[in-house]
Subunit: 476 residues, 2 copies
């Protein structure tokens, strides 16, 4: 039983992964298309995943010393021109407000594509002395980037995200912050989303417009492509000079601060879908699953079944499990398929014979295994099972990924590697031309540099001495 017989409406995951993704996100009601091209509507089942992501990540930010704030959506266009690389990177995809309140505006306003410029402007006003540093703030908000090709969660003109913006007295502290937040992202991805990631510095070509250095985390999707799941930027003094973020130091000298920014977005939902899904649909890690345990009464019309289901539900909720009972007037089989498609980690089936035997059937979504559990132990067993599923999903994803990381010594091998759905590690001389050649020849891009694993002697593209070990992959 491979699930196909039930979930006919989902395209074959191996033959057409793109269509599989579209089918899954729409048919599980995670998302729908908005009326304006490239926009998405995040439906309750998808938004509940985002709420779980936010709650978990927000606690990590606060532990790392960050406070939330909210900055305006609209940014005067002139702000973008203050940092040369930044405007070049973002101006082409900005949405512009030209009229408001029935009149033409004196200056057109951009809907924020990212907020370095407006937050920098406010920081310049707030920061006076070394005593005011460090400043570590984050905002959860919507941003807009007018993209040509869009896909729900992965690339949409509007998306939800968090953006952290910090100011420090020294280069060293700012770099520490950059790496600290990259590590927060990495541990969040692994511990909460059950997604293993490669972290490392991005090449000049792939870095954030205006950054000195961008560090990213890259996750392998089921098709072997990479998804950039979060970035942390060391901005040096680029923005503090552009926006005049200065402080009076202990030595009575006026100095520019060093800034960082870091962000993750609703893309993470796309990552969860494409890192864990299977032919039946979604497979959600318990920590972000809107429903962790679905209870399906079997032969619900028989005496005691509905009561027992309600009893189990209450006991689970009281034990901190997000549990629900499906009481709809549909067959158990139909419900099983529905909740498997929706990726609920655990299903509990309870019927008259189960009650008689003081047990329930328990199905786990990740391995598709079914076992019987004694009702007396049910709550503790479900909690153990959820922890085990969370752990197993990370291990499975890590094993799958590690099997698909290969080495390449020349362009041919890079092409062969990515064609086979792999991440390809190769030496790189550091020049833009070689990067462009990989793009042209293998339709792959450099994802991150992992020099700490040991840099090979030669650049796999030009044969000159290598300066970096790069992961090349096709990417979302």
């Amino acid at each position: 039983m491979d699930g196909k017989q039930f979930v006919k409406e989902i395209a074959d995951i191996n033959e057409n992964f793109t269509q599989w993704y579209t089918d899954v996100v729409t048919k599980t009601e995670l998302v729908d298309y908005g009326p304006v091209k490239g926009t998405m509507v995040i439906r309750p089942y998808g938004y509940a995943i985002w709420e779980n992501i936010q709650k978990d990540m927000d606690a990590r930010f606060k532990k790392a010393g960050s406070k939330n704030a909210y900055f305006p959506l609209l940014i005067p266009m002139s702000y973008f021109t203050k940092e040369a690389e930044h405007v070049e990177g973002f101006a082409p995809e900005v949405a512009v407000v030209t009229h408001a309140g029935g009149a033409k505006l004196e200056e057109p306003l951009a809907i924020r594509p990212t907020s370095e410029t407006i937050i920098g402007t406010m920081y310049s006003k707030w920061i006076q002395s070394y005593r005011d540093l460090p400043v570590i703030m984050n905002q959860w908000c919507n941003v807009m980037r007018w993209e040509k090709t869009t896909r729900p969660f992965l690339r949409t003109s509007e998306f939800l995200w968090q953006e952290g913006h910090t100011v420090h007295a020294s280069e060293e502290e700012a770099m520490e912050e950059t790496m600290r937040m990259l590590d927060v992202y990495r541990s969040f991805a692994e511990e909460t989303l059950a997604i293993p990631v490669f972290t490392g510095r991005k090449t000049e070509k792939e870095k954030f417009a205006g950054a000195v250095a961008t560090f990213g985390m890259e996750a392998m999707m089921l098709d072997g492509k990479s998804l950039q799941a979060g970035t942390s930027h060391y901005l040096g003094q680029n923005f503090s000079k552009a926006f005049d973020i200065k402080y009076l130091d202990k030595d009575s000298k006026l100095k520019y601060g060093y800034t960082t920014s870091w962000g993750t977005s609703t893309r993470l939902i796309g990552a969860v879908i494409m890192a864990h899904g299977d032919q039946r649909g979604l497979v959600l890690p318990p920590k972000v699953a809107p429903i962790q345990a679905i209870i399906v009464p079997v032969a619900a019309h028989k005496g005691g079944v509905n009561e027992k289901a309600a009893e189990i539900e209450t006991a689970l909720i009281n034990a901190g499990v997000r549990a629900e009972t499906d009481r709809r007037d549909m067959s158990p089989g139909w419900k099983f398929n529905e909740w498997e498609m929706k990726g609920v980690p655990v299903r509990i089936e309870i019927g008259p014979r189960d009650i008689e035997n003081n047990q329930a059937m328990v199905f786990r979504r990740d391995t598709l295994e079914k076992t019987t559990v004694r009702l007396d132990n049910l709550v503790s067993e479900i909690n153990k099972l959820l922890a085990d599923i969370q752990k197993n999903m990370l291990e499975t994803a890590k094993k799958r990924r590690d099997e698909r990381v290969v080495r390449a010594n020349n362009l041919e091998e890079i092409l062969k590697g990515v064609d086979g759905g792999n991440f390809v590690k190769a030496g790189w001389c550091g020049c833009r031309e070689c990067e462009d050649k990989v793009k042209e020849y293998a339709q792959a891009t450099s994802r991150v540099m992992v020099d700490e694993e040991g840099v090979p002697e030669k650049c796999a593209i030009c044969g000159k001495p290598a300066k970096h070990l790069v992961i090349f992959a096709r990417a979302y």
Copy 2:
């Protein structure tokens, strides 16, 4: 000691309430002005209040059966024209995107001023059968209304809010939902913000553009003016007909749904400030205060003081209290003023002599009383105190308000009433002309109708038979 001697920078609350408000919101770092006219930056101390409001209110929504979702920011301008009253009400204050991605758009897009139109469009797609009803969704987001006169939190071009949108099979159910959510708002205002409110139906003049009926809650500010703190709209079939929200009923007939919408915003922060503040600054209800207990070490250089402060902080945090210790290199007196201005409900002072005597000085912000508390009982006493402050703040606000509600039998008395900083209850015939007269003569508007208290015989304005008992007030 009236506090004035310390907090010189805050304008006199009785002489210039407007300036007092501006001073308080900026000097306590709740908010700052954004670069675009009419926008605000919500700073961490202000945003933390919003987070507490969100968390509390969101739990109430979920308990009432609502699920969160997210709909796009940009709405095609043509959508607004589908509901005649709605477009008339909102078109004049809409901000319009005309260009994006470097090109002119085919159709201009509005930044949502409210989302009935786009949500209605999606509901029309999602709702097919009576089985799909009711639909109860809410979104937390930003909205934009281009206002001429703005003030932080009270009226800004962009603000944060929640908007609930529901669809029901019958008029009766939709009206029930409208009233249920009004009651959720009322209990939230009283229990969490410690603000008593009048709830009731709005007049035709004051209702939401496109609604059949709007119900609002009105809170009295310290200056006797009213602040509309939340509204719940019964939309009848106005929007379901405009956006084609139809369902196949059990009788196999296609019927239009009945819709409602309800919203509250960052205005609530303004309400908290102006309902509870005093000459020293903010007075925050414990339930939404970012810091509930501030610990100030006295003679911190002396042995054991910092350690004892840390111990108290940990014990309070473990008991669920939002506690912090102020370790800055400033005098205790300076800190006392600072935290009083910032409205922290409880201050704990701990010095060498206190430790010797196994006690701490505890100051409560609402009554300005100071007592000594034994260290052994500190945690339980602080928790009791916080509950008492929450309760006392509501009682105080209610007493203050009830003393300032007067009756009027003619226009003269209405003017006198609002001039004296009161809410004025008066009979009203129901005609627009009389409402306009009140506006012209007394610069007051009808806030809500409270007919259940008994409708007087005559309209206070024209003398004809009264149909309603109206609360008139000047309003924010």
